[in-house]
Amino acid sequence: MDSAPRLRIDPASTVPVVRQITDSLRVLFVEGRLAAGTALPSVRRVAMELGVHFNTVAEAYRILAAEGWLEVKQGRGAVLVARTAPALASEAWREDFRSRLRALLAQMRAQGVPAARLAAELRGVAKEVTRT
């Protein structure tokens, strides 16, 4: 039997915890590892397991609800909803995305990751994206 997907964070990371949670959950949603109708654990339980404040998890759930991924009901937890893809993002948004991707790649290069390795990683990610 498959075990439930796990949400991972690194409190020592420079990335804010709320962003780590939203990013990790969004990846699970996009990859289809959590299906529409799946109930997420309560804010209290996730906060306790991750060792963070309730508000941090609640904020992450709110962000994902605003993006249309979750339906959050007071006292009844959050449920993943079937989400229709929004209209194609604007050119400004895509430019912002490209800029962030370039910054990430530059960071990786600065860390000593060879260009060929980066290209291979990107191809792998692209393959996963087109599969889902």
Binding site: R8, T38, P41, R45, M48, E49, G51, V52, H53
Partner: protein
């Protein structure tokens, strides 16, 4: 009675002697360290210094208990366990300070299982009802034997084994200790449930729950025996030694479990541990965290619910003079 007091001192000393073994291998004197640190000379020296202190104090206490005049025994008997615990506490803190510079931070990665399955208590949680049944049975037996209860009967005994407090055959005098025990058991039950639902998922949760249920039984049985002692004429040493008889196997099992490989340690930030034993982290939603000194859980003192639980215990203790005659 001198021998019983000596046995109690040696028992307390033995418990404290085992403290370095009652934590994970990665933790020594509340300091997170590499797992092989205990086998290094610094680790061995720290354990040896701690244990030597306890051994010296216990031997001194036993000597005093054996050779002091009987008239001083009562006064000194209560001070002996306190002296042993105090000496162990001071020595523990000294070792903590000595090892603190070598502390490492446990890997901080954390994960949560994304399942909304409700958390189920282990089957043995239902055994927590047992102590209430025992107390109820004792009350029923006293009710049925009311006419046989002496007009005045002992409810407390001194270190010399002689009664030093008595109660009268009134509702408060007869049922008071049972009611107080029921209060204590209720508080322990609330603690057990709070420990289960207010801590991170870990194999230790069920062990701690089991320990608290055991302590509940101990309280229930001891107070039930005290209440019916006047009717059954039980020897006092049976009641005095019962906790030791229960705690020895419990501690042995605990040490055995602690030495088994287990899940990773709770990666609480080092900077949130104050004075080796107090955890204060307002950014951690949890109510209980795994202890760094000894076995089990301790409060996250930044969580307001911990003050509610401690206030509950204070109320239980404060109610004793009004309940017990």
């Amino acid at each position: 009675m001198r021998l019983v007091l000596c046995a109690v001192s040696v028992f307390i000393g033995g418990l404290l002697y085992a403290v370095p073994n009652m934590t994970r291998r990665e933790i020594l004197f509340a300091v997170p360290l590499p797992p092989d640190f205990r086998d290094r000379s610094e680790g061995r020296e720290a354990i040896s210094a701690f244990r030597t202190t306890i051994a010296v104090v216990v031997l001194a206490c036993v000597g005093l208990l054996l050779f002091l005049p009987a008239r001083l025994l009562g006064a000194i008997a209560a001070a002996m366990p306190l002296a042993i615990v105090l000496a162990a506490g001071i020595s523990f803190y000294q070792q903590y300070r000595k090892l603190a510079p070598a502390a490492v931070q446990f890997k901080r990665l954390r994960e949560a299982e994304l399942t909304a399955q409700p958390e189920r208590l282990p089957w043995f949680a239902w055994l927590a009802a047992g102590p209430f049944v025992i107390l109820g049975a004792a009350a029923w037996y006293l009710h049925l034997s009311w006419s046989r209860i002496p007009a005045r009967f002992p409810v407390h005994w001194g270190a010399n084994g002689q009664p030093n407090r008595w109660a009268e055959r009134t509702t408060r005098g007869v049922y008071g200790p049972l009611f107080f025990a029921a209060e204590l058991c209720t508080w322990l039950l609330v603690m057990a449930l709070a420990g289960w639902f207010g801590s991170r998922r870990s194999p230790w949760r069920s062990v701690v729950l089991g320990l608290l249920v055991t302590v509940q039984y101990l309280m229930g049985v001891v107070f039930a025996l005290i209440s019916v002692q006047a009717l059954l004429g039980l020897p006092v040493w049976v009641i005095a030694l019962l906790p030791i008889a229960v705690l020895i196997p419990v501690i042995t099992i605990t040490i055995n479990k602690m030495s088994q490989p287990s899940g990773p340690p709770d990666p609480t930030p080092n900077e949130c541990w104050k004075g080796a034993i107090f955890y204060y982290n307002p950014n951690d939603a949890v109510l209980f965290v795994e202890k760094r000194a000894g076995f089990g859980y301790t409060f996250n003192f930044a969580n307001p619910w911990c003050w509610v639980l401690l206030g509950g215990l204070a109320l239980v203790i404060a109610s004793a003079p009004f309940i017990v005659a």
